[in-house]
């Protein structure tokens, strides 16, 4: 952005070009923390063309979250754009608390999501062990849905049994 306001689709598309270049030059990075310090205002079209589009395009493979997002109006605009794209984006404050902008997890997956957010990474077996009446298969399904919808990232790891299991990673 050449100014501290992000205005309109045209400026959004220009900014998107720079953002995607940055992401592609950091192929090893899974999570990108986007600081909004110094960003005065953005409108919904700009939001839609930039980080929301980036998060949607990389859903499940790379994660994007906000830090330094305090302005209520700006938060509302990011949320409106993310909602429209059915994309969740986390915003983290300096105390480590998060809010989800845009798509919210379904009622059935909300608890599993809260569990995953509370730790850097987790496995279905860990959630199943801590939750009441949740089997490993059930926990696995919930995490898979959260990953597909863009709430979490995942990577493959060796299971104790010798097979492969997924480790789910929060976007922070």
């Amino acid at each position: 952005m050449s100014e501290d306001d992000g205005w309109g689709r045209v400026a959004g598309r220009e900014a998107y070009g720079k953002l995607i270049d940055f992401v592609e030059t950091h192929p090893g990075s899974l999570v990108f923390r986007v600081s909004l310090a110094g960003v005065h205002r953005i409108d919904i079209s700009f939001a839609s063309e930039t980080i929301v589009e980036l998060a949607r395009r990389h859903r499940g493979r790379k994660g994007f979250c906000f830090v330094d997002l305090a302005d209520a109006d700006q938060k509302e605009n990011w949320a409106a754009a993310a909602q429209r794209a059915a994309q969740p984006i986390m915003s983290w404050d300096e105390r480590g608390k998060s809010v989800t902008l845009g798509l919210e997890p379904s009622q059935g997956n909300a608890e599993a999501f809260r569990f995953a957010l509370a730790r850097p990474e987790t496995r279905a077996a860990e959630y199943a062990a801590s939750a009441k009446d949740v089997s490993i298969t059930n926990a696995s399904t919930k995490f898979k849905q959260l990953w597909e919808q863009g709430f979490l990232l995942r990577r493959e790891a060796a299971a104790e049994s010798g097979g492969v299991e997924y480790v789910y990673v929060r976007i922070k």
């Binding site: 205002r41 919904i44 079209s45 839609s48 605009n77």
Partner: protein, 304 residues
């Protein structure tokens, strides 16, 4: 040579009043006449939404090679003086004939920015994006609405609404003609009006072709119903993930109980706050209107 006469009313005329006038005359765009004459009688006071819309219409008619005349019964002590002050003649095509005569000096050029209750008509030139326009309009709204308890929230929301509307002119207006924006505070009416107008195809003309393939059910809606859907649900020719700009505007504007007037080439909808979001005020919704190219939007906000 056949002439179309459009007779304005000798009273305060807002966008609704202008529509009444236009509906009572032959459509200037569609008639075979090569000359269109606007008569502005004594006692006619054009409000900013009507003035901006009329400005676009006159420029469009001029652009379509018609001879356009606008005849005022009063001198600069009347509406001619007001229009000069808000920059109407600066933006009116020089080929439009003003009778008895076009003001020699532009009062808008001389006093621009000095009245906190007014943001003079600004051109929205598609080739030159002026990112300060929405800031100036927002500042004027903030100054006018200091009595409102929600002024802080309103400031942020107003910027977003204006940014989206002005950006929309760039997205939908495929025309060499400029768009316009203006703001006027009406203390006696306890309201302010922000009008944004362009002379493009109009958003439904660009939206409908995309809907036919992507959402055939919506494509069958009437213009009025489809327009309401654009603001309530968000629809876009660019696909399902887009189209949130105008819906976002409406979601913000309704928090501040703003009325929203939308005029497209042949349809007009007045959206008023209801229990579940905006609802059309059917008394002011028309289809089959006399043609004015473009998208013309006006927000009316209470001052306190």
């Amino acid at each position: 040579m056949h002439q179309t006469l459009i007779e304005l009313s000798p009273r305060w005329t807002n966008a609704s009043g202008l529509e009444d006038t236009l509906r009572s005359a032959p459509s200037a765009h569609l008639s075979a006449s090569s000359e269109v004459r606007f008569h502005v009688p004594k006692g006619c006071h054009l409000m900013t939404d009507a003035a901006v819309r009329l400005l676009s219409l006159m420029n469009q008619l001029d652009h379509s090679t018609r001879r356009v005349l606008v005849e005022f019964d009063e001198d600069e002590s009347g509406v001619l003086g007001y229009l000069n002050r808000i920059g109407f003649f600066e933006s009116l095509s020089p080929d439009v004939e003003v009778l008895p005569k076009r003001p020699i000096f532009s009062a808008a050029a001389r006093y621009r920015g000095r009245n906190p209750s007014l943001v003079e008509i600004e051109r929205i030139d598609r080739k030159r994006r002026d990112s300060t326009l929405q800031n100036r309009l927002t500042m004027a709204i903030t100054r006018a609405c200091t009595q409102r308890s929600d002024i802080q929230e309103l400031q942020g929301a107003a910027w977003t609404i204006l940014a989206e509307l002005i950006d929309n002119v760039f997205s939908h207006s495929k025309t060499p003609l400029d768009g316009f924006a203006a703001l006027q505070v009406y203390p006696k009416g306890n309201c302010l009006k922000v009008a944004v107008s362009d002379s493009g195809l109009g958003m439904l003309e660009t939206l409908r072709p995309a809907l036919r393939s992507e959402a055939p059910r919506l494509a069958t809606l009437s213009d009025i119903d489809l327009l309401v859907e654009v603001f309530k649900r968000g629809l876009s020719r660019h696909g399902a993930g887009r189209g949130c700009g105008l819906k976002g505007c409406a979601d913000k504007a309704i928090k501040f109980r703003a009325d929203l007037d939308v005029r497209l080439p042949q349809v007009r909808v007045l959206l008023v706050p209801g229990k579940d979001g905006y609802r059309p005020n059917t008394a002011f919704c028309y289809s089959g209107l006399p043609l004015i190219w473009g998208t013309h939007i006006c927000f009316t906000l209470q001052l306190d």
